[in-house]
Symmetry: C2
Subunit: 396 residues, 2 copies
């Protein structure tokens, strides 16, 4: 904070859910959120609802107080419901002796955020903005030992879910090229039920759903699968799963396969993507830039004759709809997409403690797509692959 000239950091929100910065500084899930205060070089203070105070005391902040402790009810009477909140922030900042630059952080509605900002400034608080990467983005990009422990845990559970689902699919009977499940032709919907049951058994949730897309719809990286679509042999299936564990950490893993035998075109896609992923994983380590990893993946995929987004960055195309149409990877932690990025836009060196996905993909509209994704931990000499699920292309 000192280096950035910030004297006070205030992280707030009405819940820690979907509020990774607040979850990060608090170290616990608080249903009603709270306000975290940090004066540079001092211990932090956390204000929570009386209903969350016991939970909060189990987290990272020693000094946890309730809104009532700090006289919030009195401010409500004096200033009304809208103004009581900024007044409370002002009082605490004054008590902490913060008169310099203050950063407000935490995910909040911007309409309300505009009010809060304008009001605090009118009360004399010197609120500054930060350009990205913010102080908390930087902190969150490098995982601590306890964060890595949680991510390893969700990684091992996610890998187990994927392996079990693949085993179940392999064990299903086939009739005239279709997979049969519970006496009926298996559909995306029925397979998703298998997946969510396995997630539940492992104690994971998937708040953003799961992608299980077959055939042409697998060529759209964000198509999560048409519920009624039938599971057939010889079609490309992209299975991309991104669950979250109870403490808030995510994981990201994708496998692409066909039931039965794949045709030649699908095999070329698979080989290109697998080759790109292996090549990228082989060079990832502390000090390498996200850009370099991305460039290498593009090199490999172009060698197989497919286009890549390099054409867009090089100004050769306005956009591309076929080939490797997205970036190589992104950070994973308390969100499913954060710093650092493995993309042409990221020239910064990766650091030990970063956790990133490595997920090249090649997509051919109207035919299908292949994406293979692992989540890895960057270390000084290499990277540690946290995904344990096998990469089996033809399920026989």
């Amino acid at each position: 904070m000192e280096r950035r000239g910030i004297q006070g950091l205030v992280v707030l929100g009405d819940t820690t859910l979907g509020n990774p910065d607040l979850t990060y500084v608090v170290g616990r899930n608080l249903a009603r959120g709270g306000i975290y205060f940090k004066r540079a070089a001092c211990k932090p203070l956390l204000i929570t609802s009386i209903l969350d105070v016991l939970t909060a005391r189990g987290g990272r902040v020693e000094n946890v107080r309730t809104f009532t402790d700090l006289g919030f009810e009195k401010l409500l009477v004096e200033h009304g419901q809208t103004e009581a909140y900024p007044r409370l922030i002002l009082e605490v900042l004054t008590q902490l002796g913060v008169a310099g630059k203050v950063i407000l952080a935490g995910r909040n509605d911007l309409a309300w955020g505009t009010y809060l900002l304008d009001k605090l400034r009118s009360l004399g608080v010197r609120i500054s903005c930060e350009s990205s990467p913010t102080i908390l983005e930087v902190a969150r990009a490098t995982k601590s030992v306890s964060e890595l422990h949680d991510i390893r845990g969700v990684g091992s559970k996610t890998s187990k879910v994927v392996s079990k689902v693949l085993d179940e699919l392999k064990a299903l009977k086939r009739r005239r090229g279709h997979l049969m499940l519970g006496g009926r032709v298996a559909t995306i919907k029925s397979v998703k039920r298998l997946i969510s049951t396995q997630l539940a058994i492992e104690g994971l949730t998937a708040p953003e759903g799961t992608i299980f897309a077959i055939g042409p719809s697998s060529a759209d990286p964000h198509n999560s699968g048409i519920p009624g679509a039938e599971i057939r042999e010889r079609k490309l299936i992209v299975f991309d799963i991104f669950p979250q564990c109870e403490s808030g950490y995510w994981f990201d893993l994708t496998r692409t396969f066909v039931i039965g035998r794949a045709d030649k075109r699908a095999k070329v896609l698979f080989d290109a993507v697998q080759d790109a992923q292996d090549s990228a994983i082989a060079i990832l380590k502390n000090g390498l830039s996200g850009q370099s990893a991305m460039a290498l993946a593009c090199d490999v995929i172009e060698k197989y004759g497919f286009r890549t987004v390099r054409d867009v960055y090089a100004g050769k195309a306005r956009e591309i709809s076929s080939g490797f149409i997205h970036s190589l990877g992104h950070g994973v932690g308390l969100t499913i997409g954060e710093r650092p990025y493995l993309s042409f836009q990221n020239q910064d060196p990766l650091k030990t403690g970063n956790v990133v996905t490595v997920e090249p993909g090649v997509y051919l509209p109207k035919f299908g797509g292949v994406r293979i994704e692992d989540t890895v931990h960057i270390t000084g000499r290499a990277c540690e692959n946290l995904s344990k699920a096998r990469k089996e292309f033809e399920l026989n």
Copy 2:
């Protein structure tokens, strides 16, 4: 918008997850979010990533364009990564002819929000704040037919999960006052696995977890249950479940019960809470204030000899730690806690189309608590109870 003197509304975010305002205006889940523009009295425009554009087109906005369509890459080159985003907003507002008051909305990091706001203002955009309730809070409080359809759906599935879990618990063998599950003494952890499996079967997720608290820990309304705690007979168990369905709508339901027979003290708690809930549900309808419903619930609970938060609002106590220590209810929709509130602070009349929880509770520290909660839909003449799970106090 006209009534509030707003000419432009911009709702933005890097994902719709945990961003209810953006989910609401878009009508779909977009993994990479987007920017929604609305000029008063005109049709809206939505900008999304190329990866989300097909999904977005299935939602509420007809006019969906990609960042590339609007020349974002050019702005990136001209203004750099940080400034390109506000520049894009400025360009679109200019194209739409918006020169008057603009509201920024959607959940976003405030550190970045501060930058966005200051930059847009420096570029001449007249950004205003809204006092709560914001235009989107007001819109979201009254559910449309299609929203009610989704909430009814998640309500019926949630009720099914609760009924099935109660059936399973009843069917378990008991040994020396303990419930047995899979040959071992059942714990909170093993019961939570039953719950999450049932949730998965119904296609629901519980991103905020589930409360299953036994004995003294049930006296803390936000204690979600100590994983290792054993399930015993004759102890109060608070089972509070708040799942979300795929389209983003939540539901909230609580049952309190004992395995076997309850003692007299626990029965009095249950009767007080059930009586308070029945009384409140009987009067809830369009036009009644949230405050009146809360006051009635307090009347009933006080009649049974317990304290209520009325003492705090009447200035008789600074805080209370026993009795009815929270409010009667809150709205439910794309969040698990929103307008309208059934509390002393809400003097506004409820409206047809509101969906609220009715959840009185009485808590005795070191002993336990009882909370009974249904989610109801306010109509012109009464309220429709969307919770179908039975209220059985003694599981025998």
